[in-house]
Symmetry: C2
């Protein structure tokens, strides 16, 4: 009975969390209506999403901000630190690493790998850059559960295969390639070119011509 939660629901839970965190301290309670407005969805959707996991509100009153935060964090598995490996210390990899927001949110990059001999041996804020040869060994030893793949597209599938065989079951993939993984392993793709292409499509689509200038802002 592996209740199937849709990707969109999970995505919205993240939004709820962001919205709630911005409100901590404000008033201690809020309605699905308010939460929906702040998270950019509808009240019914908020209630339905939450209903998959339990009953967290009080009828007539709404949800207690901090309580709901705790519940959502529990649901999403954000109550413990996740140990993450970064593969690929190029431009994207380094930007990610320096970005630092991950650590603040419980995703701790504890190992870095790169195939470039010029990079191997370097140290980023206390974490040594290692050869990909060591992935299996290090991931096992460090009990790493999530892998971030920021290698060239051609190397992505091999990299992921190695990570998976080293026990990783979650992959954040920045390579612009669809990755194949065995069942039980999850891949999330981040592909900025694709997002830009989606924009280009919206700006190009005939509907724009059809609706004409008047439609904007109606």
């Amino acid at each position: 009975m592996p209740r199937k939660i849709s990707e969109s629901t999970v995505r919205r839970l993240s939004h709820y969390l962001r919205a709630l965190e911005r409100r901590v301290g404000d008033s201690s309670t809020l309605s699905s209506e308010q939460l929906a407005r702040e998270a950019g969805t509808t009240a019914a959707q908020v209630r339905k999403d939450l209903s998959f996991f339990g009953s967290f509100g009080k009828r007539g009153l709404g949800y207690t901000t901090q309580e709901l935060i705790d519940h959502i964090q529990g649901i999403m598995g954000l109550t413990h630190e996740w140990r993450v490996a970064l593969v690929g210390a190029g431009r994207i990899g380094s930007a990610l690493y320096e970005y630092g927001d991950f650590r603040a949110r419980g995703f701790d990059i504890v190992a870095i790998f790169d195939a470039d001999p010029g990079k191997i041996g370097g140290v980023w804020e206390g974490v040594e850059i290692r050869s990909p040869d060591q992935i299996t060994e290090v991931l096992r030893r460090e009990a790493i559960e999530i892998g971030v793949v920021a290698v060239p597209a051609d190397a992505a599938q091999d990299t992921v295969d190695t990570l998976v065989s080293a026990g990783v079951r979650g992959i954040l993939n920045f390579a612009p390639r669809r990755i194949r993984v065995p069942e039980g392993v999850t891949v999330q793709d981040v592909n900025m070119v694709m997002e830009l292409e989606a924009l280009a499509f919206q700006l190009t689509d005939p509907r724009v011509e059809t609706l004409g200038r008047g439609a904007t802002g109606t």
Copy 2:
């Protein structure tokens, strides 16, 4: 009659394009079945997606690689260069800019803005970093259509408002905040923390316990 194309269809078009480009030169024709396999979907889905825009294949034969590339590029608006402004020259902004894959795909960052006085006046590969005060003027002058927002969350909505009032109708948003825009303007969000949270959810969800160790790889 603004035929409504779903977000997932647009996303898949990008995947088809990537898959097709990898094949240029191979054999000159391929079936929906083959394309589906390379893009990670089903043959029926490929045909349905394409059918929204026309009939590009030949029955009994399949699609001509180069021809289909041209069609999809036309559909998505990738046949001309898009002029892009980058707002926020911090870590994410610079990583994006240096990444360079955008330019290769027809997205040309021709203006950069940052509020940090220490950065204003700096030059990145020939493009000067300007004060946000100049957004309206520069965007109008340079006929910029797409804005990339890589500013802190609190500044995101204001930044977008400025961009929109300067004529931008497509926004790529890296700030972890849901942005409100008038109708006719499209926002694409890139939020890496959210993707990691989705992974955490998958790795945490009770179903994992329910299915047990045996399920992986079945």
